[in-house]
Symmetry: C2
Subunit: 224 residues, 2 copies
């Protein structure tokens, strides 16, 4: 299809599509003349994905580009791919056709010289309690530690033990997530689903919690 049809079918303005093409967010079409190119269904699909990541989730062009590059480079390794999508591993590995110069088998930085906070220790205790094996520098660990730190600074009686039942529910949520991935055989489709399920479902999961809270609150305290 021509770029005009791509625009019509995706609902994305032509100028935006051209911007995505220049930024490399969308692979170039097949040139049919000096000024025209032909696009296919994969372009349409990729365009919608880019639109969702940038427009719906508010990711930057650079973050989106990095995520998409990682997806296409790791499409056969589901675990590696998930690691990239979850932000647990650096998304700056060598591209296809390049040679990895630094083959250091232990890319971890030197042991932390900063003092571990109570919240860091609490986060590690939570992971141990759950028996979870995750990357040492997973960004999500910091999020948990920051939350514990914040609640503590507010004088709340809240430590990692309070999070254990939440973590148990998160474990069941993650199992649901992964079940939905394995239903897909095509590696690129699985990669896209991984992005969508981790990133796009987040606001919906929080929204479901709020709706459930409202319902639970009505049941416990409602006056009719």
């Amino acid at each position: 299809m021509r770029i005009s049809e791509l625009g019509r079918r995706s609902g994305v303005p032509i100028t935006t599509i051209k911007h995505y093409l220049r930024e490399g967010l969308l692979p170039p079409g097949r040139a049919t003349s000096a000024t025209q190119a032909e696009y296919g269904e994969p372009h349409l699909r990729r365009l919608r994905l880019v639109r969702a990541l940038i427009g719906v989730r508010g990711l930057s062009v650079d973050t989106t580009k990095e995520l998409l590059r990682a997806v296409s480079e790791n499409e056969t390794d589901t675990h590696q791919l998930l690691g990239l999508v979850l932000g647990a591993r650096p998304a700056t590995g060598p591209g296809p056709g390049t040679v990895a110069v630094d083959a250091d088998p232990d890319p971890d930085p030197d042991p932390d010289t900063t003092t571990a906070t109570t919240a860091d220790i609490g986060t590690d205790a939570l992971l141990t309690e759950m028996g979870w094996s995750v990357s040492e520098h997973a960004p999500a660990k910091e999020v948990v530690a920051t939350t514990l730190e914040t609640l503590r600074s507010l004088g709340m009686d809240y430590d990692w033990r309070s999070l254990v039942p939440y973590a148990a529910l998160a474990e069941r949520t993650a199992a649901l997530d992964l079940d939905q991935l394995t239903e897909t055989a095509d590696p690129l489709e699985r990669a896209e689903r991984a992005v969508l399920l981790t990133v796009l479902l987040e606001p919906a999961l929080l929204a479901l919690r709020r709706l459930a809270q409202e319902d639970e609150s009505a049941k416990r305290y409602g006056t009719g």
Copy 2:
């Protein structure tokens, strides 16, 4: 305590505290002279809460102000309070000491004249399936509908039925949330906990899901 001690104990700069006082985010201290005021433990606690809402969660001064006003006006009605915190009810009710002029028992707007989308219908179907009773205009409903709409526009085979198991887990999460509220007897403390548990725990819950995904992924696809 003097404002200087309030600053030292909270870690918030004096200029920021003065800004919060001017904005009404923090109640004035007890004047001890023309230029000095005395602050108590409640100020310290409120200051930390404001700091968490603005600094950690990135709420605007206006949103924070509205939330705090709603909290102090509804501190005896837990369900009403939760509704406000969840954004399900307008936070612009009459303040204490004012008289409600408009006593219309049905403050809902006229029936929607816009056409319900497939995603809206799906969201209602999900709520019915779960047996949840929530406000007709709860913002979280729109979030669910938008997510369904986005996934559909990406050509994914994903409808409200896919969310049912997630909703069941959200129900259990909400029960945990409410359990932690009822442990608190003091109404203002309960109000603060409601804000903290709904707003501040959100990033931690998403982080737990990501950590659990990484662990689950390692178990299913890991190569050692």
